[in-house]
Symmetry: C2
Subunit: 267 residues, 2 copies
Amino acid sequence: MRNIALLVSYDGTGYYGFQSQPGGNTVQDKIEEAIHMLSGERVKLTGSGRTDAGVHALGQVANFQTTSSIPAERWAIALNSRLPNDIVVHAAVEVALDFHARRCAVGKTYRYSINSFRFPDVFARHRVFHHPAPLNFGAMREGLTHLLGEHDFTSFTSPLSTKPHHVRTLYEASLRVDAASGGSEASGRGVAHITVTGNGFLYNMVRIISGTILQVGEGKRRPEDIADILAAKNRARSGPTAVPYGLTMCSVEYGPEWGLNWKPPYN
Amino acid sequence: MRNIALLVSYDGTGYYGFQSQPGGNTVQDKIEEAIHMLSGERVKLTGSGRTDAGVHALGQVANFQTTSSIPAERWAIALNSRLPNDIVVHAAVEVALDFHARRCAVGKTYRYSINSFRFPDVFARHRVFHHPAPLNFGAMREGLTHLLGEHDFTSFTSPLSTKPHHVRTLYEASLRVDAASGGSEASGRGVAHITVTGNGFLYNMVRIISGTILQVGEGKRRPEDIADILAAKNRARSGPTAVPYGLTMCSVEYGPEWGLNWKPPYN
């Protein structure tokens, strides 16, 4: 038995999320089908975490156990030729048998993208949330700093969360305005990317953070309100859950013992 | 009667090109339908040039005559709310009655995008041609220089061209490797954009140029062969017509008398 880890990108537009569901049409289903076509095996693919319907991934990590003798480095090309073109496997390596893409993950980075120009970029319409009014990017950035460090994120998770506790640590919570888009801080117009890195994320956490920070950018809330919202540990105090398609899972981090040092391809 | 000029972006993936056809489902049809919904008028929209099925535009320019009293600056928002989300009007201005988007154009810029990394970028799959082997970008760049200036481009147009003569002038013919993609000249891997600006383009001209330059990048032809191919005035001498979806019409230039100084939105 061998354990193969995959580095996977997908455009989540056409899928009901990463994880298999009774309704089918998930990224996991598609990769499991491609593995079946290739090796004849019915495997169970384990992702580092779910992504909701419409959410994208640049560097999702997943693993599966196989008895196939196909060399690890051949899996990427072989799977890509059997996958729809909105899912791409960028790398495949053999890992220790006890590697588990979700349980071994020590950090994850997500990005939420917002365009505040008057009109959307047609080519990014499935990947960037269009908010056609100026935003106070500086205030959004300041609001994000209150989320850094260890906090109970109950205010920033769905009441549907099944996790026993909601304490997580954010190592990064930043916003950058894409210079190539022609945006600027002064105009409040631009394509902005909120990047958050943490040791773990709760259900809808990045989308609720983004929806709340968006209200800070609109002037509906002050940056320092974020600290109060955190302290309240009450989902009713934060803002709306931002639409899924602005969210991208960028990368997943593992300890050095696993030998996975994967950078997300593209950006 | 007023004459309105529009600056339009579209993702050409789902359309049979810009210009109306008996089969329908073109960008022109969609915009004409949106104008009809808005003003009740059946207008004929004139584009600066056709784009083939699957070809995209960042800054296509089109115009139409209307008796509507809707202020010019309102047309963009009003049309966008009636257009599918893969077509976006970025600006609308009233222009002189004798402005004609095709006949008044004095220059156009196109881009052809090629990705030579092993695996494609899922988010650019409809917009960048994937060529999964290293390319000699320097040789491609050198090949392009032979196309600069005034030439008879018969070797680089489809035999279906109906134009009386094939002499055109290219002001720019360059290649740049997108640094953000992580590509490099040394590795021959990267996302490369061929940019050509000229006073006019023949049918399939940019795609045949790109298909031929790609062969230079593969080492199948020498850069200086481009000069010989031009001199031959024979389509059989050049390379294949590159796939349409790698091509984007970036911008259209008009003389200062028309007061249109439009930069393509995004990139």
